[in-house]
């Protein structure tokens, strides 16, 4: 456990081999006029150095909210973190003083957003905004910051960086803007980078380039990468481990190969079935029936049970494993696999 001051630049490899970021039982509520919305309901995961964890889920599954809670950018109120711990290098960020939290953000944990254009201030040149990271956190001079900004723009493969450093965000294409955002996020060599749907706003070829860039940067720096996405293809391509979220909970977790190859939760299974396959050309896609749950009134028992083709109700259910009554805990199903389903073994076919 490292207790070194957060203002010291982070060097890869510091802090031992344990997880760098550990989210424990995180719960987030929103108070709205129409009642309490339970966006995140007990999410736990860890990210180690050099690891890529994908948080996979549909809109409203709580994947972005949990990331915003880590970054301290939830609007509170209406949001409220009702329980949980966010351990970064052994310290709980949620109970740390605001000033200490602020110093971790940037050099310790950093984030890139879905919409790079609105995430960049329109009135400053991109070079100024990248350089701002150095000026704000390290007190670098303007001249030096500009030089560093050009280096970073080179590193994220923005062509003719030296010429483009004074250009404004609106003068860049979508892919290039996301690169600028990435340059800002990695400026201070963070140990953890959270990417919240980094490629959703981009077209497919640019998506691949940006994901390759992120992977290459991760290999160079050894940072842990949290990839929040609803894109199964992206997960398959870059992630080591995946956590599937549904209604603010993690319903399945494991290595990408295991989870995608043989899902242990009916929801994951439904997701896999809904992927268009080349060999099934001409056939119909199989969507998951029903609607995602309303987060202000999550179904009792397993939140997925109204849509689950494998649910067991009434006399079918085993004692204590009634899908509409008993909440299935996230449990180890087979080594390295966790799932929150009463009947995972059946789903897995083991």
């Amino acid at each position: 456990m490292s207790t070194a001051s957060a203002s010291v630049p982070y060097a890869p490899g510091r802090g031992g081999s344990g997880p760098v970021l550990e989210v424990q039982d995180l719960r987030v509520q929103f108070r709205t006029d129409s009642g309490l919305v339970n966006a995140v309901n007990g999410v736990s995961y860890t990210v180690s150095e050099g690891e890529t964890v994908a948080i996979l889920g549909e809109s409203g599954s709580g994947k972005s909210v949990s990331a915003q809670a880590i970054m301290g950018i939830l609007d509170m109120p209406p949001a409220e973190i009702t329980s949980g711990r966010i351990m970064f290098e052994g310290r709980d960020l949620l109970t740390a003083p605001a000033e200490e939290q602020r110093k971790v953000r940037g050099p310790g944990i950093s984030m890139i957003f879905q919409d790079a254009l609105s995430s960049l201030n329109p009135v400053y040149s991109v070079g100024f905004q990248i350089g701002e990271m150095f000026r704000a956190h390290r007190g670098t001079s303007r001249k030096e910051a500009k030089k560093l900004a050009v280096e970073l723009m080179d590193r994220v493969r923005i062509p003719a960086a030296a010429q483009r450093v004074n250009d404004y965000p609106h003068q860049f294409s979508g892919g290039m803007r996301q690169r600028v955002m990435i340059a800002m996020a990695i400026a201070l060599d963070p140990r953890i980078l959270i990417a919240d749907e980094p490629t959703t706003a981009l077209d497919v070829t640019v998506q691949a380039q940006v994901m390759d860039l992120l992977k290459d940067l991760q290999r160079d720096t050894g940072m842990g990468l949290v990839l929040i996405t609803h894109d199964l293809g992206v997960v398959n391509e870059v992630a080591d481990n995946v956590a599937v979220m549904y209604a603010g909970r993690i319903v399945e977790r494991g290595t990408v190969d295991d989870v995608f190859g043989n899902p242990a939760h009916p929801y994951t299974e439904g997701l896999m079935a809904s992927i268009p396959m080349l060999e099934a050309k001409g056939g119909r896609l199989q969507p998951i029936g029903g609607q995602p749950p309303n987060l202000s009134s999550i179904p009792s028992g397993c939140p997925f049970h109204p849509r689950c083709p494998k649910r067991r109700l009434g006399a079918d259910a085993l004692p204590g494993r009634h899908c509409a009554e008993d909440v299935p805990p996230l449990r180890l199903v087979v080594p390295g696999r966790e799932a929150a389903c009463h009947y995972s073994e059946e789903v897995l076919g083991v």
């Binding site: 970054m71 301290g72 950018i73 609007d75 602020r102 110093k103 971790v104 953000r105 940037g106 050099p107 950093s110 984030m111 957003f113 919409d115 609105s118 995430s119 960049l120 201030n121 329109p122 009135v123 400053y124 040149s125 070079g127 100024f128 701002e132 990271m133 704000a136 956190h137 001079s141 303007r142 001249k143 910051a145 500009k146 030089k147 900004a149 050009v150 493969r157 062509p159 003719a160 030296a162 010429q163 450093v165 004074n166 250009d167 404004y168 609106h170 003068q171 860049f172 294409s173 892919g175 290039m176 955002m181 800002m184 640019v206 380039q209 390759d212 860039l213 290459d216 290999r219 870059v238």
Partner: protein, 315 residues
């Protein structure tokens, strides 16, 4: 994934992107970082509209500071009734007024009062507008409702009517400061609303969230993101308003509730001249012309400033 081909693929995106040819200034990598203001100034320098406005504005400021120079040696109060209403001549460019005073001297001396009222009123409007608007936008809720309703009450009274009522009541007097305050009291609401809406928009913008996620402190967010985005439009508004307020002063004076003789102002001159419009039209023409040009100068500068402060407007 470490395929070198992919690296070149990354570079190929240039072709698809909106690549602008590198501008000559942007090549100086060794230079320091450009701030919003230095970039805006570089843009402003290239704007012809700005230079016309600024030259005119400067000219009127010089007239206000040194009216004697522009009066061509004549004293505005050295009058001779025998010259009453004489038309412009080579010797006396603007002719003489009803009292037989040199009219060019009068118009030149009138600039000071007009400009002081315009600039003073705008300064008050800026301070009030930015302060109330920032408080309202930043805190929201009850504070916002309260301050916004107060602004609405002032909005209910038109600028001229409101100032007229205040000046007629007489408790401010009828001097230059009184007219400026009366105008500012009924002119600050637009500035306040501009600042308020900008603060609200910027406060919840993604780039403020991004800055916060990357460890920017509250004061840095205020200075770097909220203020520049909120102040730029209000500054533009203020520049244009200087002209509007100078015209409003002339209106009030013309209506008989602004400055009073023996003060010298364009409003008083137009008021006096309109009664002699048929016999001596130059008495209305010259102060009106100068007044229009002054208003135009500030409006032009405001327009140019708006273009300069918005990077998206730049070519």
């Amino acid at each position: 994934m470490s395929d070198p081909k992919l690296t070149t693929l990354g570079h190929d995106e240039t072709g698809a992107g909106t690549v602008t040819p590198p501008a000559e200034e942007s090549a100086d990598v060794a230079g320091t970082q450009n701030s919003l203001w230095s970039d805006a100034w570089r843009q402003l320098r290239r704007n012809v509209l700005f230079w016309i406005g600024a030259t005119l504005g400067l000219l009127f400021v010089l007239i206000a500071l040194f009216p004697k120079v522009f009066a061509r040696g004549a004293d505005p109060r050295d009058c001779s009734l025998s010259l009453s209403g004489q038309a412009p001549s080579a010797e006396h460019w603007f002719g003489f007024d009803q009292q037989g005073c040199d009219y060019m001297a009068n118009v030149a001396f009138g600039a000071r009062n007009s400009l002081i009222i315009g600039l003073l009123a705008v300064a008050v409007i800026l301070v009030l507008g930015v302060l109330v608007g920032a408080l309202s936008g930043f805190f929201g809720g009850l504070v916002d409702s309260l301050l916004s309703r107060v602004a609405d009450i002032f909005y209910a009274l038109p600028l001229i009517l409101g100032a007229l009522v205040v000046l007629r009541s007489g408790f401010l007097g009828r001097g230059v400061v009184a007219v400026a305050i009366a105008l500012a009291a009924f002119g600050w609401m637009t500035a306040m609303r501009l600042v308020r809406s900008q603060v609200i928009a910027v406060k919840s913008s993604d780039y403020v969230a991004a800055a916060r996620a990357m460890g920017a402190s509250n004061s840095r967010i205020l200075v770097r993101h909220i203020l520049p985005n909120a102040v730029a439009p209000v500054l533009v508004y203020a520049t244009i308003t200087v002209g509007v307020l100078i015209a409003a002063e002339a209106t009030l004076t013309f209506l008989g509730v602004g400055l009073q003789r023996p003060a010298i102002s364009w409003g008083l001159q137009i008021d006096a001249g309109q009664r002699l419009l048929r016999t001596a039209p130059h008495l209305v023409l010259f102060p009106s012309l100068i007044l229009t040009m002054t208003v135009m100068a500030f409006v032009m500068m405001g327009d140019a400033l708006r273009d300069a402060l918005d990077p998206r407007q730049r070519s």
